[in-house]
Symmetry: C2
Subunit: 557 residues, 2 copies
């Protein structure tokens, strides 16, 4: 929420017919996403989105478009990101918006935009929908970071067109959407050149931009559109996506918010404000899955795993953005293990089907979104639950899990069990590139292989504890106190200390572009977003555009 502004409930649900800032068009195997930001279309009052600068609302549409291209357009093998304006590509995140935002809003905004850019890269690599970018005018800051997230950047060679990351010299903040990391780790620009480039307000153009690896090619302005179309056709020809198939339409997501309850078809969330927690319950399927690809397609967005992904995704974004004071997410499940297992077998068997691939990738992104959220996550595993396979990932993504050992006197349901499926062994890698099981057992990699032999077994609390899959297994006598104390303690800790702690503990092992962006770049940016040199009364972000000069504390920290 913006400083001093009214509470605005941000809704992440949209559809192309309602876009104000993007035009999505499809021509055979090539789609074009044209950015044409409506100046008066800011999510909140108080700033104008000039020169294709953007705020969260613009990015919500981009996110929606990227999702729809994957599901609704199986035929599309390449996506051109372009500007809908004649003389500017994109000026980056709107600075007035940033300067009037709270610290929390800035951080959350950057997180979402980062996730969306990562999704562009994942679409290129995994969905075989390759993104490329046509730069037709100034491409600055977040504008260039958007270009960097695509796989091929073509730039017009004219006096007006440059790429730049002017945040450091102009605003005393970092390029906050992965730019620094992508420069040196994706495009592998030499570090001294990256240093120079990032201190250059005016940016770099023409042949030097190609020589330094900042873009892939420069072409005369008059040929830009044709060259990009040619490249897109070339990339699209190499996709494995099916040409003659209808897509799955993503129907409007039904959600009701009733007081402190948020309800979807399969997901329900109850917020306990006094405890600072949200209890999230995911229901398993209530019927067996379709048995073939045609059946899956016929189910469309009602296909249970897809529906759950969409609902969870929306809920996470809602809680993150609109429920900042709810620091602990308590995850439960409800349903029958054998039905989840049956769905998982479908997801495993049909993994080469384009639609199943998209569903798996969507689930992967959704679980990753949980782990990069600045919220504590506990899983409670009780009778009636179905932490099986795909849904077991929720418990593995949690900071810790409590599993009731045995039954409750007033409950006739059998004791809880958990079940591994094929889907726990690589389908849903974390941002560090490892499966949650591999991350969990860094100390004993062989254990993951041994667990394969347990696929399909119902593991009770003793077996699950023994296998290292749950954290604690109190019995009915201890449960209430142990869990209550854990929840209360979590709520009593500093929100910030928990965020830093969780970010440091959750991702052991290898690093990736993504983990570097969320773990390192974002942490530095968050620090800078607190520093007087950026956000103090004379900080650069505050005085930008006022004609005043910023005044810096020169001390290096």
């Amino acid at each position: 929420m913006a400083e001093g502004g009214e509470r605005v409930l941000v809704d992440f649900r949209t559809e192309p017919a309602r876009y104000r800032h993007w035009k999505l068009s499809v021509d055979g195997r090539v789609a074009t996403l044209a950015m044409d930001v409506e100046e008066a279309g800011g999510l909140q009052p108080g700033y104008e989105l000039k020169l294709n600068s953007y705020d969260l609302g613009v990015d919500v549409e981009l996110y929606d478009a990227v999702q729809r291209l994957r599901f609704e357009h199986p035929e599309v093998g390449a996506v051109i990101v372009a500007s809908g304006k004649e003389r500017v590509f994109c000026a980056g995140a709107n600075i007035r918006m940033l300067s009037r935002s709270t610290h929390g809003w800035k951080v959350n905004f950057c997180k979402f935009t980062n996730e969306t850019r990562n999704a562009l890269e994942e679409a290129t690599a995994e969905s075989r929908q390759r993104y490329l970018c046509a730069v037709n005018g100034p491409c600055a800051g977040g504008g260039y970071e958007l270009a960097l997230a695509t796989d091929w950047i073509v730039m017009a060679d004219d006096g007006n067109t440059t790429v730049s990351l002017p945040e450091v010299p102009l605003l005393a903040v970092l390029p906050g959407t992965g730019g620094l990391t992508r420069l040196v780790d994706k495009r592998r620009v030499r570090r001294d050149r990256a240093d120079f480039f990032c201190t250059l307000e005016e940016g770099i153009k023409g042949a030097r931009a190609v020589e330094w690896g900042l873009v892939d090619e420069v072409v005369p302005r008059s040929k830009l559109a044709d060259v990009v179309k040619g490249r897109a056709a070339e990339f699209a020809a190499r996709t494995d996506r099916p040409a003659g198939t209808a897509g799955v339409s993503l129907a409007p997501l039904e959600r009701t918010i009733d007081g402190d309850r948020v309800r979807y078809r399969h997901v329900v969330c109850d917020i306990a404000r006094d405890q600072g927690l949200a209890e999230i319950t995911v229901s398993g399927p209530d019927a067996p899955p379709p048995t073939d690809a045609a059946g899956i397609r016929a189910a469309g967005c009602a296909f249970w795993p897809l529906a759950v992904a969409r609902e969870l995704d929306d809920l996470i974004l809602h809680l993150r953005t609109n429920e900042e004071a709810i620091g602990l997410w308590v995850v439960k499940t409800s349903g029958r293990a054998e039905l989840v297992d049956a769905y998982d077998r479908v997801l495993a068997t049909h993994r080469d089907d384009w639609l199943v691939r998209e569903v798996r990738l969507y689930l992967k992104r959704t679980f990753k979104r949980i782990e990069v959220s600045s919220r504590s996550v506990f899983a409670l595993i009780e009778p009636g639950s179905c932490f099986t396979g795909t849904l077991l990932e929720l418990a593995l993504a949690a900071d810790r899990s409590y599993m009731l050992d045995g039954t409750r006197p007033d409950d006739e349901r059998p004791a809880a069990s958990i079940r591994l499926t094929e889907m726990n062994f690589g389908a849903y890698p974390m941002v560090n590139g490892l499966s949650r099981l591999a991350s969990r057992f860094l100390a004993e990699p062989g254990r993951v292989d041994k667990l394969r032999a347990r696929i399909g077994d119902d593991l009770d609390a003793a077996a699950a504890g023994e296998a290292g899959l749950v954290t604690f297994t109190p019995d009915d006598i201890d449960w209430e106190d142990e869990v209550r104390i854990a929840l209360e303690a979590r709520a009593s800790f500093s929100a910030d200390a928990l965020t830093g702690m969780e970010a440091s503990i959750r991702f052991g092992g290898p690093e990736t572009l993504e983990s570097k962006i969320f773990g390192r770049l974002s942490a530095w940016q968050n620090w800078i977003f607190q520093r007087p040199n950026a956000v103090g009364p004379k900080g650069a972000l505050e005085v930008y555009g006022t004609g005043q000069r910023s005044e810096f504390d020169r001390r290096r920290v």
Copy 2:
């Protein structure tokens, strides 16, 4: 400097005879470093170092001891870190000291303590001086982080002895000295267990500490000393360090500070306060090197590479701690390439000699210290310089380099050249584990191999630019303006934005425990060190020990 305190010039030079907090003893192949902190021995007034809690002064002695063990005790193959007090191991960093420190002091303190703990690990792995730890009582926070930096932790099994990281629940900050990273990445503690452990004020003891991987063994209190001695003897027996050789004594380092000039034997630093920069000039050797190991030993701490390492190391620490407002280090060299080259050949030829190994490792650590410093570094390569091999690393460590192309009209010296030696190809890895050349050419790894063929060549500006070894090569006509503008621009930028930018750009490629500690953990800690929940008037760090309760903003960011 502490808030409101007088300006205290911190001196990092010390020696065992002057230690107030540590006792260093050597018994055959095993040394013992016993921590026995003098309560009234704080570096600054206003706090008491109770329960073996520490401040920067305590760590300066530890750092000195670790250095001396390497150089002065070739015979030592294992080092026991123990407490000199009967009933406590170490309570961690002193909280009163932290709460009254400026943000900059906190951050700099953590950086130095981190470097020292990394040095313990490097001594274990590379110097074959294996560190182990005897825990004889509460071992909390920074105390446990010190233990984690050793290679084997033995803990007494009694009611009084626990290991803990109580920072999050108690102080609303992170364990700031690598603890979180070492838990999950070095000891590979399961992330859910790590989560629980880090929220537990009282810590964990006994069998559970072993089962969870927090320590390596627990033994009855009465047997602790014997077991540790036994382990140490066992580890020491496996070292390759020579038993019958005298060490090299590290004589007091001579330094004069005269106004804005800091002068050592081979290194001189001129501070230009109005420009916010320090010009650091390193002189090459003035005579050929000793030709054999005996000669090197005879030269002792006057051996040019060792002397340069010591002087540079001290200067970096001095500038970091005592000259916070000097944000840009401009590095120059002066001398003859062929003499540096001759020394490098000695360092390469005698790499298996224990002393040469230590000298190489010390240079490695010193160059790493430059890159994790929150200072911009530019190298200026001009006539009369000797950026050769080991000294070329300074230019490769710089954020950018300017090399004068050709000569100056008023200068009879020949044009500058640079020269690669064997020492540029792996002797001095960065914190990411790669050589500076490999880091520089991430995009074209083959280039490093090709550069091997150029070892020994004098590369003029054109050739150095072509080879990608320098950033810019202005000629005499452009030099003055180009360099002046670059220096002025750097001084005009926000100190914090530069710090975040440099931390993000300097270390492309792979990640290591060290790069995670400096790049990720430290960034989160710095952020938290700015947050009201930690340092505001009701923040946990402020109210600790006052009997007041902290009040937290519950909003998650």
